[in-house]
């Protein structure tokens, strides 16, 4: 007999942690700047949801002095890649300012350069948003050694591969002040855990954090390809960001209803429910289902979308059966809006909130200056359609 083994080779390893992603959002409806400390605390409370393979934070209202310029926030492998990005940006945009994003040493063993460029697109024939979208996609798909984390105005995404608490420490989230925050901690299921694949997933001023999986990914990718969106980032969340951008920004729907249409397209009501709607809403719902048929996101998901177009807005949404959790809450004074996977995350920072549970497949929307859409009535709640 040989010496005894230190572990069993015949038994199933039982140490495996099964979990899910954690998402949270915090929005000061007075546009007052709040530190990233509470949102980081919310994520830390939901630590049991993640497995340390990706986390991130999106912050809005960061650069009041440079808010007319697009801020491209990138992770870069080396100086050579940085030069390639700079050269590329110089040929299509004017770089107004660029700077290194301050990160804390000693938190992560190894990390890339985090750099930001403030740019203004030169081409006047194409809308600046479209140019920036193409620039972001080109960098992510074609420039080796560079990845664009975000590219909106007055906002940025801070993400990486690690635990939510580590990433918060790495970017010193508690020292950053913003009026709207979203955050994510990852438990990758189908796709690799890497820096670019962490959430928030961002395009222009939109950032998406996502818990779940999009099983209709293939259909959605084909749909988006028709409109010039390249999906090459090995994460199903990218289709959500692009679908939102396409429907809410690109389709030229009236501002007031654009995001509602995008939400309905992602999780359209069943035909049985559409039949029960008022004639006007029935017409809308039918047309949205038909026009954006392939934008429907199948599979379990709960998401938080934050955007600054046309005005700062935070949306919580889920699939039609609500196979992933989502809780919404409003602080006692009605000034702070919260979204989270679990109520205890909200309770950690504010015990006196008024909270509610949105219905399956109905969006919760907080938009600056508008009454909150609670997601507990019909999917076109609050809209006067004529």
């Amino acid at each position: 007999m040989k010496k005894s083994l230190t572990k069993s080779f015949t038994e199933l390893p039982r140490e495996r942690e099964l979990s899910a992603c954690g998402i949270a959002g915090l929005f000061n409806l007075d546009k007052k700047m709040v530190s990233g400390e509470p949102i980081a605390k919310m994520m830390a409370t939901m630590e049991e949801r993640e497995n340390g393979l990706g986390a991130g934070y999106a912050a809005y209202g960061l650069f009041p002095k440079l808010k007319e310029y697009y801020c491209l926030q990138l992770i870069i492998d080396d100086e050579e890649a940085k030069r390639a990005v700079e050269e590329f940006l110089n040929s299509y945009t004017d770089i107004v300012k660029d700077e290194e994003v301050s990160v804390k040493k000693g938190v992560l063993k190894e990390y890339p350069i985090v750099w930001r460029f403030f740019v203004s697109p030169r081409d006047e024939k194409v809308s600046p948003d479209d140019t920036m979208k193409d620039i972001m996609m080109h960098i992510n798909c074609s420039i080796k050694g560079a990845f664009c984390l975000s590219g909106g105005k007055d906002m940025a995404v801070f993400k990486g591969n690690g635990w939510a608490t580590e990433i918060a420490e790495f970017y010193q989230i508690k020292d950053i002040k913003a009026f709207m925050w979203s955050a994510h901690s990852r438990f990758p299921t189908n796709t690799p855990g890497w820096w670019g694949g962490a959430h928030p997933f961002s395009l222009l001023g939109h950032a998406v954090v996502h818990n779940g999986e999009i099983t209709s990914y293939g259909t959605n990718v084909n749909y988006l390809k028709e409109f010039g969106y390249e999906c090459k980032l090995l994460t199903d969340t990218e289709v959500l960001a692009y679908i939102y951008d396409y429907i809410a920004r690109k389709c030229n729907y009236p501002e007031k209803i654009a995001s509602r249409i995008a939400m309905m397209a992602l999780a359209p009501p069943y035909w049985k429910d559409i039949d029960l709607m008022t004639p006007e809403k029935k017409k809308w719902a039918t047309n949205i289902r038909i026009a954006h048929r392939k934008a429907m996101a199948n599979g379990p998901f709960s998401i938080i979308i934050t955007t600054d177009m046309p005005k700062p807005t935070m949306i919580g949404h889920s699939d039609r059966k609500k196979l992933r959790p989502m809780i919404a809450a409003l602080s006692e004074d009605g000034k702070t809006f919260y979204l989270a996977s679990e109520l205890n995350a909200i309770h950690t920072i504010d015990r006196n909130v008024k909270y509610w549970q949105p219905d399956p497949g109905k969006p919760v929307i907080a938009s600056l200056g508008d009454p909150i859409i609670t997601g507990t009535k019909d999917p076109l709640e609050g809209l006067e359609l004529a």
């Binding site: 409370t45 939901m46 630590e47 049991e48 429910d273 029960l276 059966k321 609500k322 959790p325 809780i327 679990e342 109520l343 205890n344 995350a345 309770h347 950690t348 549970q357 219905d359 399956p360």
Partner: protein, 281 residues
């Protein structure tokens, strides 16, 4: 067992401001049970999962704070009392015992429960009682004091779900204190106005019964769920359940019987028979 005979033990789930991981917390609970304690109090709980998972002993676990998801999962013996809210999946595959929540509990409560009782004072989410089943004398029960959302009793194969539609928001005597039986003023319990259940009620149900206090609009019934007359035998079935509810939440029994009940049952014992191809393979 009388209260004074209980061997009590207290665990702080957040010692020195650092939240215990669910593994550490559950290890402590199990050790306390092994040491012969019968009443375990958990303080400062903040979303730790799997509290009381798989426990077979007839002990009482009292939770102060928000219990995490999968509270009481697979458990068979304990009484778990939560003075706060519970996240989703409360009583997942419950095998026995009693879970009591003095607060709200969200989606998928009692998923696949096979026995035991779940009492929630507040509001519920969607897919409550999904795949619940029963066998002989093992008949799980879920009671919600407040309202619930879509897909209640989806694919339900057995057991009983009761929805009461009561509003306790003004009935808490001291909101600063944890909610318990003594902190509820029975005179201030109100009834929710409007519908207390939502659409796809009992969708795909093929066993068991759902009782909703008051009426249920037909448009909310899911596929193969039908309304059935509430009979004396149903009253007999509900009686012990409502008595226990009344005792737990200091709620007058008169109020619980007011407005009557709507009973929802499957259309037949095998509603999906025709959907499957019966050709032997």
């Amino acid at each position: 067992m009388k209260m004074d005979q209980q061997k009590k033990f207290t665990i702080d789930a957040e010692p020195q401001g650092k939240k215990l991981h669910h593994k550490e917390l559950n290890e402590k609970i199990r050790k306390a049970i092994k040491d012969g304690h019968t009443w375990i109090t958990l303080n400062n709980v903040s979303g730790q999962r799997f509290i009381g998972a798989g426990i077979k002993e007839k002990v009482t676990i009292e939770v102060y704070g928000d219990a995490g998801l999968d509270t009481g999962v697979f458990s068979e013996g304990p009484t778990i009392i939560v003075h706060g809210n519970s996240e989703y999946l409360l009583g997942n595959t419950l095998n026995g015992g009693e879970l009591v929540v003095y607060g709200d509990s969200w989606d998928i409560t009692g998923m696949g429960a096979r026995s035991g009782k779940i009492f929630v004072m507040g509001e519920g989410g969607s897919r409550i009682g999904i795949h619940m089943k029963e066998f002989k004398d093992k008949r799980p029960v879920i009671v919600y004091g407040g309202r619930v959302k879509q897909y209640l009793g989806e694919y339900m194969a057995g057991g009983i779900i009761v929805v009461l539609g009561l509003d306790y928001s003004n009935a808490i005597i001291d909101p600063k204190k944890p909610i318990s039986k003594d902190n509820i003023d029975p005179k201030k319990i109100k009834e929710h106005q409007g519908d207390i259940v939502q659409s796809y009620l009992g969708a795909g149900i093929h066993g068991g019964a759902i009782y909703v206090r008051g009426t249920v609009p037909d448009k909310y019934l899911g596929i193969y769920a039908v309304k059935e007359e509430f009979t004396e035998s149903d009253k007999e079935t509900l009686k012990p359940i409502l008595e226990r509810y009344s005792e737990l939440f200091n709620t007058p029994e008169d109020l619980l019987w007011k407005n009557g009940y709507t009973k929802v049952r499957p259309i037949s014992s095998r509603p999906f028979e025709k959907v499957y191809n019966s050709t032997p393979i």
